[in-house]
């Protein structure tokens, strides 16, 4: 007998030129919640995929309950009592909860007995862990929080003793996340082992007993949570000191640059995506829009950038209503020319052409800029020079202006978009998910640039699902829920609890 549920010893895994895991060792105690924290690409997911049987390690060994095992596929992992809750749920939308749970473990050729047995078992699990899932609900009609619980049930139904959760809170409201943590604590009390993969320091501090920090494929620390603090973990994670808070001075904002009045957007099915929005963004301030994704923030950005036509309302920019402007060119181009820059939420689909080199991406949307083009032809020299400027100013790596953008990391791609939009010297910057899929070093850099821009008197509208980011950057915070603004808070007075309530749709 051993006290460890899982022991990983010297795991190595290489994909082509990339060493995803290098000599990774960690012991995960039985009946504990063990955090694995690291930046994007630190090798957390690869390691867990090896444990769950998706990949075979090149070398190293895995022991479950003290016995060395080989896990060749996920069925073997399940048989060893390992369950996984994926970041993207693995559920069949048009099946009921019950059908999803028995799938692959039906217990016989006929469904009837299997389903009856599963229903009983499910009710017991529901009771033990207060999961509150209706077995006959259609999964596609459930909210993400409940879908996640269905995933947990699926693993428990298969007799999982070790539960791996991959970034489980990425899609949850703070309340849902709290509920999830209650469930995880209940699991621990029942003697289950939980492995929590995350990049959120707060979660690790809140709930884990021990934590393994990964950086660039290796484990840089195995510590007890009680022995460390946030700053120490962040330090381990990125390998140098980072300030979690963005330094920014108080600043009195100027005149309103953007004034949105009664803005509405209704889709073809009659659903109100934007419902009577009224707000201003003033020069020299960052207005953050918080909310769980899918509550109208994306549509708001697209409407303001001219990519979507609103159903009604006014968008007053520097005093005139943009929607009344007549123009032969597309709205997005018109707005851009007027000084509204847009860093779209999904940079790889809307901000960049991945198969183009960096220098061609550097003028996307600004093709008629006279300094690089003449009579419809652009000057390659001028363009390359500009791109090299971007590379220098934004520390884009690798520093090769002719490299295909798709080959850059997420953070560097984002820097290319940001450099391009800031270069246009906009009066209003619309920016969506500025640091999604961006590593911590680049996050810090991007945040600094945004604050600089604000201090230079620009108006910035920031949409992000990362509350910490909204809190760190914004001067004022608007919360969106169900297409409406459910509340406004000054950044100084905001805390995650009040914001979380607003995000859940509780009106002020």
């Amino acid at each position: 007998m051993t006290d460890f549920a899982i022991e990983l010893n010297g795991i190595c895994k290489r994909f082509g030129a990339v060493q995803a895991n290098r000599d990774v060792s960690m012991n995960i105690a039985k009946g504990s919640i063990h955090g694995i924290i690291g930046e994007n690409g630190a090798g957390k997911s690869t390691l867990m995929s090896i444990l769950y049987g998706y990949y075979q390690a090149d070398s190293g060994s895995i022991a479950v309950d003290g016995k060395t095992v080989r896990i060749r596929n996920s069925q073997e992992a399940i048989r060893l009592g390992i369950g996984m809750v994926h970041q993207h749920f693995m559920l069949v939308d048009n099946f009921t909860v019950l059908e999803n749970i028995v799938l692959g473990a039906e217990g016989g050729l006929l469904l009837k007995q299997g389903l009856a047995k599963a229903r009983e078992h499910l009710q017991a699990l529901n009771r033990d862990y207060s999961l509150e899932v209706d077995p006959d609900a259609i999964v596609g009609e459930l909210g993400v929080g409940l879908q996640q619980r269905v995933e947990i049930l699926k693993a428990l139904y298969r007799g999982a003793d070790v539960l791996i959760l991959d970034e489980p809170t990425a899609v949850l409201t703070p309340q849902e996340a709290d509920h999830l943590f209650c469930i995880l604590r209940a699991l621990r009390e029942q003697g289950k082992t939980v492995i929590l993969i995350t990049h959120k320091l707060r979660e690790v501090m809140d709930i884990t007993d021990a934590v393994s920090v990964m950086r660039a494929g290796t484990v840089v620390g195995n510590v007890r949570t009680a022995d460390v603090d946030k700053e120490k973990l962040a330090d381990l994670m990125v390998g140098r000191k980072v300030t979690l808070k963005v330094d920014k001075a108080e600043r009195a904002p100027g005149a309103a640059v953007l004034d949105v009045r009664q803005l509405c957007l209704t889709d073809a099915r009659g659903v109100k995506l934007l419902d009577d929005l009224n707000f201003q963004v003033r020069a020299g301030e960052i207005v953050g829009i918080a909310g769980v994704s899918g509550n109208g923030q994306s549509e708001l950005l697209e409407v303001l950038a001219g990519m979507l036509e609103p159903t009604s309302g006014e968008i007053r920019y520097q005093g005139t209503d943009l929607l009344q402007e007549k123009s032969t060119q597309p709205r997005a181009a018109l707005y851009r020319r007027k000084g509204i820059a847009h860093v779209p939420e999904d940079r790889s689909r809307e901000g960049l052409v991945k198969s183009f080199p960096m220098f061609e991406n550097a003028i996307l949307g600004y093709h008629d800029d006279k300094s690089v083009s003449k009579g419809g032809l652009y000057s390659r020299q001028a363009l390359l020079a500009r791109t090299r400027d971007f590379i220098r100013q934004f520390d884009i790596r690798p520093d090769n202006a002719q490299l295909r953008v798709g080959l850059l990391s997420g953070g560097n791609q984002q820097k290319v978009v940001l450099a391009r939009e800031i270069h246009a010297n906009p009066d209003l910057l619309l920016i969506g998910q500025p640091t999604r899929g961006v590593d911590i070093g680049a996050i810090e850099f991007i945040h600094k640039r945004l604050v600089e821009l604000r201090d230079a008197g620009k108006a910035i509208l920031l949409v992000s699902v990362e509350l910490e980011e909204i809190l760190a950057l914004s001067d004022r915070i608007l919360v969106m829920a169900g297409g409406q603004i459910s509340g406004e808070v000054a950044a100084r007075e905001a805390d995650t609890v009040s914001l979380g309530l607003l995000m859940g749709g509780h009106k002020q």
Partner: protein
Amino acid sequence: MEQLFSLLDSTIRVATPLVLAALAGMFSERSGVVDIGLEGKMLVAAFAAAAAAFVTHSPWLGLLAGIMASVSLAMVHAFVSVTYNGNQLISGMAINTIASGITPVLGLAWFQQGGNTPQLDDDSRFHDISLPFADALSNVPLVGHVYSKLLSGHSILVYLTILIIPVVSWVVYRSRFGLRLRAVGENPHAADTAGVSVARVRYIALFWGGVLCGMAGTFLSVYQTGSFIKEMTAGKGFLALAALIFGKWRPLPAVLGCLLFAFADALQIRLEGVDLPVVGQIPSQAIQVIPYVLTVLLLAGFVGRAVAPKAIGVPFVKSR
């Protein structure tokens, strides 16, 4: 009354191969594999069945040959689209092309009758069967009429098909295989992580699709015409596919769609050369177009939004 009964009687005859093919399509499409090769599989089965029945003088061996021919094409389709993640439309199209090419070539080489097979003698064909007491009951009004005129007097293949319909429906909704089949067609990644082999389920689905197509083809040559005729499927595979979509990929509504198309077809045969009141005699071309116009109208208007299995046409590649 007599007229109506004979109309419904021929509806059943025309519907049988459509139903079999539609159910075949349902298996493969519910598993996430597009099956436009129904037509080709039926054609090859019709040829193989007729040829085997002619040589062996046994309709049952003909049926076996038809099924084997159709299943082997289905396995080619599975190999291309499941094992090699190929384009399922191209694979299906290739099956249709191969089928319409290889059948007359082999027919010409083996039987020298312009690509057709020789007419089968009575022993080598499936025959109409009288159900017990059909004669005795034929004078009982309605019930007796329905029994003796409509239900009795069909081929064994028709009765098999009538049995197969509830069995298929039961398999899809009540069995372990059915659950996995539907899961694999909707979200193969979910099925995979739940420990279901996506490839295995798709192979099995395509196999049963092959079997059913084989029966459909055999029905055409060894029962209906008594010989293989070039291109004798004449779009029936696609009609079955249309019925499947009409039924939103559910077995019973798909069968209903087949009956509807078959009724239109039977009606067309009946109307040919008949003087109708007011309009007089309708040109035969206009009548022949009825089933096809009906197809277009039904698919465009009445079905509403047909929600296909979500993963249809998408090869399954493990995401990690």
